[in-house]
Symmetry: C2
Subunit: 310 residues, 2 copies
């Protein structure tokens, strides 16, 4: 069994590689839900949907999220009313949010809905939200004020300096049913190449999950989302710096130090392998930029091979 801590686009691409080299039924992906937001009354789960749509082969390849061939008639109509539409929800994508919102209103747990949506798209792996409880990433800006994650990520285009990140509700959140069991039983626990602060961070903030990784640290393999000193996508690099670390594989290694036994870094960062190893973990150097599913599959094979206890 393999458990994967997952954010959005990077994690989704890795999972596509992984289902190509391992029986999907052996995989449990534990997905960040601290980016979830309520827009116009609808519960939106960006990371869960990115993972689902990508694994279903239905994702928009140009963006890495949203559905391919999407239309935006509802958002265009909403513009008439002057409502904020900077978070563009596609018409077909709305079907998912309508379903999720209706089910949650009827009393279903998020993990129930995630399983139903995954089944509807024919996914073979098990998808779990990190928690059924409400956890929300909040970012305190250097210029003052605190914003919700999507406000920062989409509206402000993650281009403003951040002073502090917190995960509202995390202290009292419980891991979703099956999360701790999947981590306890996994031969390998993979930390996907997702933002270590705002994608992996919230998962680790749910009580019990970080502790489980620490106790099974030798089996935990992380893939660095930082390549050649910058994030392939999103604000991982600048957030690492703004919060007092550095934008490099060494910065990632330091951030995850207590929880991982192996860090996988890209060929571009080979020179930094000794520094990573000096932090008390193994360092595997391979191609990590998943431009194609083949690269993703090779990366998945390398990650599994890197797990010393498998």
């Amino acid at each position: 069994m393999i458990a994967v801590l997952a954010g959005g686009v990077g994690a989704a691409r890795f999972l596509v590689g992984l289902v190509g080299v391992v029986e999907p039924g052996e995989i449990t992906a534990i997905v960040n839900t601290a980016d979830d937001t309520v827009l116009h009354g609808l519960h939106v789960s960006p990371d869960l949907d990115t993972v689902t749509y990508t694994l279903a082969g239905a994702v928009n390849p140009a963006t890495g999220w949203g559905l391919v061939g999407e239309s935006f008639a509802a958002m265009d109509a909403l513009d008439r009313y002057g409502a904020p539409t900077w978070f563009r929800l596609g018409d077909r994508d709305l079907g998912t949010h309508l379903y999720r919102t209706g089910r949650l209103a009827a009393g279903a747990h998020l993990s129930d809905v995630v399983a139903e949506v995954a089944a509807a798209w024919g996914l073979g792996l098990r998808l779990l939200p990190m928690s059924d409880d409400r956890v929300r990433t909040r970012l305190e800006l250097v210029e003052g004020g605190e914003v919700a994650f999507q406000e920062y990520f989409v509206h402000l285009r993650h281009s403003v300096p951040v002073r502090r990140v917190r995960f509202e509700g995390a202290e009292s959140a419980r891991p979703a049913p099956g999360v701790l069991e999947a981590l306890a039983e996994a031969e390998t626990i993979v930390v996907a190449p997702s933002n270590p602060i705002v994608s992996i961070g919230p998962i680790l903030a749910v009580p019990g999950i970080a502790e489980m990784l620490e106790s099974r640290r030798e089996r935990v393999v992380a893939i660095s989302p930082i390549v050649g000193g910058t994030a392939l996508k999103g604000p991982a690099g600048r957030l690492l710096v703004e919060l007092g670390g550095e934008s490099s594989v060494v910065g990632v290694a330091r951030h995850l130090q207590a929880r991982i036994g192996t860090l996988v870094i890209d060929e571009a960062d080979r020179g930094l392998a000794p520094e990573v190893e000096a932090l008390g973990m193994r360092c595997l150097v391979t191609a990590t930029v998943m431009g194609t599913p083949e690269v993703a599959a090779d990366l998945a094979r390398a990650v599994l091979a890197a797990s010393p206890l498998r």
Copy 2:
């Protein structure tokens, strides 16, 4: 000033005629909201939207409700999840529901949202919901059980016998701001040709509104939605019968007897005028089937002329 008690399609067509013959700024339409429903977490207001879209010239002419040239990508996507989609929400129409739901969630009153939506569509008349409070039409079926209005109207296609109709929440509902004032100041109060039981009934069930009509009965002119013994659209005829009345202009007159001073009936029902008058009201005979805006305008002129105190 003119106040109009309004349901959906019939009322909307009458209002199109009315704005053609009276300064729109002189008109207040008080619209039924007991058909409102929450679908997939979204607050849907069918009668308000039908009136709005019709007056804006954007309604689907084939159905009399919904938007013309609409697409249904979100509903088609929702089908994947096996969610009930018998209430088909168009993509552009969803924009309205998303806006309404978001505003209500942010603490706005329904009457605020109605005014905003009406302004966005450039409507010149004043649109008011009958109440900002939650009132819901519930129908007890002869075969047993009680269903919500849309379940009866859309899902069951109003083809099952009804034993009783009630308006849940009406006792404690307050008329929306401006409703009683508009009725008190109106030279003419028009009861639009809407279903007297499930469209006009809920408006009259909001405490204060029926009393206001009774005290100004001489100024109240109703247009019969029953023509030649049947409703032009919907279940008005069979509901009148099932609830112990009759499907005729006389049945309508009896149902509204205490609240109206004049009933407008179609030429087809001319022979029944004496029976209507015998119930203690005036009876005006004219063309009431609004196949074109011109007929609607002529009807509006006739209604205003019928008001004895204008």
